[in-house]
Amino acid sequence: MAMSTTPVSGSGRETRILLLVIVVAVAMLLVLAQFRYPGSDRTAVMPIAGPIERLAARATFEELALIMADLSARVQPAMTVITIERAPAKPTPADPGERRLVVALRVDVDVAVAYLPAGFKVVETGDVELSGQDAERSLVFVRVAPTPFIEVGPVASALGGPGYVAVFEGARGGPAVRPLFLGRVDSFDDPRWSVPSLSIGGDVPVRAGAFIYTLDGRLVGMVTPDDTGVAITRVPGLLAAAEALRPK
């Protein structure tokens, strides 16, 4: 390509501009570095599976574990964990009351909905504040630390069995995920909710308050107590009940 012969002039001015830009940038950086980001506790770095590792043949359980890890990373921002406690009739140091960690589903920037069994109350902290309660459905509406709102995400319109689903439960560091095998799922009408609930067949080791997702990341609903064990309250019913709790 033929280059022209544009004279290179004004190099003194160019150098001055260069130095000025660098000095201003460094000065601004030094000023900003004097501040401390509020609440700057570092979080753990999660390693990512390597490409060669991904190519290698794996046992089915390892595949399931990878699916759980991937699902957890995708779904966790939509949830938070709150603490609930059973208030003893007369608290004593020996019996301070039973405490549980339950998952709350974020339904807006700073509000979440969670399960609250009878006899329990929400432990309010600086970040968690009770905003509404539905004793009949054992639901609470809590104000939580604001975060960029991550939508509830895709919702499963139906759930078949037998097969695996992902269960999200409360843990100290955030929602914990584990696979759960459902032997049978049947739809039934529950007068408490606006849409039919899903009855879980068999003896299923899951506690009320957990959230159920399909393995491809669609939210099924929340586990609630049922007269025959536990059932899954589907998302539309849950959100309708949560909306009724929202302070006007």
Partner: protein
């Protein structure tokens, strides 16, 4: 008019011209009118990022909430394909220029290296000093921001209106090579574990060459244009899919494939360029809209914006200063001014890192890069023509 530099949107640039790229459509010509006035400093012109990213934000969960669930999954797929496509175009351009660009390549690589180091160094210092919370390695975050900052498009220049613009345009084309290679290295560090890292570093090269061989064997044997297009699209999908599955950068896989097609005998590179050229514009628009839809306000991103803006400016001015001295015949200020526009590749790099970074870190990075890119695009179009006129 056909020389307006809209290469990232599928329009011809000087390289395309030498390759015999087809003339623009009437609509493209109308758009180019706006660019002419802008290149001469007569009228401001908003660059595509400034138009399509806000459109994406409008469609996303923060406004109309039309991009949800399955749509978002499909958009993720399109991002990978677009990144592969951009990598292929960079590879083809690089392959064509290899025999004649020794000095320009050194200048462009030095310019991008200076910007990467300036932004990455400032970011690492800021993160450590202020205790910014990240769920990823500070070094990876800092380098990722540096790479996003290093991209230049020189779209505010009309190469035929100003000889300096012609040189800056080629420097801007070539300064994408080093960042793509460094990005591949970051993917290796981020996804590799222990001793298999050396093998992982070779994965994009292997995937790119393998895809290149498949395409090279198929393209010229097609019996019709339609059959050939299917082969080309299938090969690009294979390259993107392989990159996504193995957690390596689609840009680097595309770069290797594009380079392979150009350096091997035959017409594979021209076939790919002709067929993919039709897709480039819509896919890049989709990329920008997707970036907008994925945009999440981030307090940490706001802090990252400071080193991005200040040290990208400083890096480009210093890099332009060094590059101008190596290349000659162009004023350092002119070179820096032309390189100031980040273009689409900046967003492409951010979306590429979004695929491997944890959610919070990826969101913060994308937030900072999108805002920073928009600021620099507007700055390049509005302020720099005035600056350059004043310098004369």
């Amino acid at each position: 008019m056909s020389d307006q530099r809209r290469r990232e949107l599928g329009g011809p640039d000087p390289i395309d011209r030498r390759l015999g790229a087809p003339p623009p459509s009437p609509l493209g010509w109308l758009f180019s009118l706006l660019r002419t006035r802008s290149a001469l400093g007569l009228a401001p012109s908003l660059t595509p990022g400034v138009v399509y990213m806000p459109l994406g934000v409008l469609l996303g969960p923060l406004a109309l909430n039309l991009v949800t669930g399955d749509v978002r999954t499909l958009l993720d797929l399109s991002v990978t394909l677009t990144l592969t496509l951009l990598g292929i175009f960079v590879g083809i351009a690089f392959g064509r220029e290899v025999p004649s660009v020794g000095r320009l390549l050194v200048a462009a690589s030095l310019e991008s290296a200076i910007t990467i180091l300036a932004v990455a160094g400032a970011t690492a210092y800021l993160v450590v000093s202020t205790g910014l919370p990240f769920d990823a390695s500070v070094i990876i975050i800092a380098l990722a921001l540096g790479l996003c900052a290093s991209a230049s498009s020189a779209t505010s220049a009309d190469p035929d209106a100003d000889p300096a613009a012609a040189v800056a345009t080629r420097v801007a084309d070539l300064d994408d090579i080093l960042p793509i290679i460094v990005a591949a290295g970051i993917f290796t560090v981020a996804t590799g574990t222990g001793s298999d890292r050396w093998w992982i570093a070779l994965t994009p090269v292997g995937a790119g060459i393998l895809t290149g061989v498949i395409g090279w064997l198929l393209f010229e044997r097609a019996e019709s244009v339609a059959e050939r297009s299917v082969y080309v699209l299938g090969t690009v999908a294979l390259a993107g899919g392989a990159a996504a599955f193995m957690h390596v950068s689609p840009l680097s896989v595309g770069l290797v494939a594009g380079l392979f097609w150009t350096l091997m005998p035959g017409r594979a590179d021209r076939i790919v360029q002709d067929d993919l050229g039709k897709l480039q514009h819509p896919l890049v628009v989709l990329l920008l809209v997707t970036a907008g839809a994925l945009w999440v306000p981030s307090a940490v991103g706001l802090w990252l914006l400071v080193p991005f803006l200040l040290f990208r400016l400083a890096g480009k001015v210093a890099g332009g200063w060094v590059a101008a001295r190596i290349v000659g015949d162009v004023r350092p200020g002119d070179m820096a001014a032309y390189l100031m526009s980040p273009g689409v590749l900046s967003i492409a790099f951010a979306l590429n890192f979004l695929q491997i970074l944890p959610t919070a870190s990826g969101d913060a990075l994308l937030w900072a890069v999108m805002i920073g890119t928009a600021v620099f695009e507007v700055f390049a179009v509005v302020a720099l023509p005035l600056w350059r006129r004043e310098a004369r």
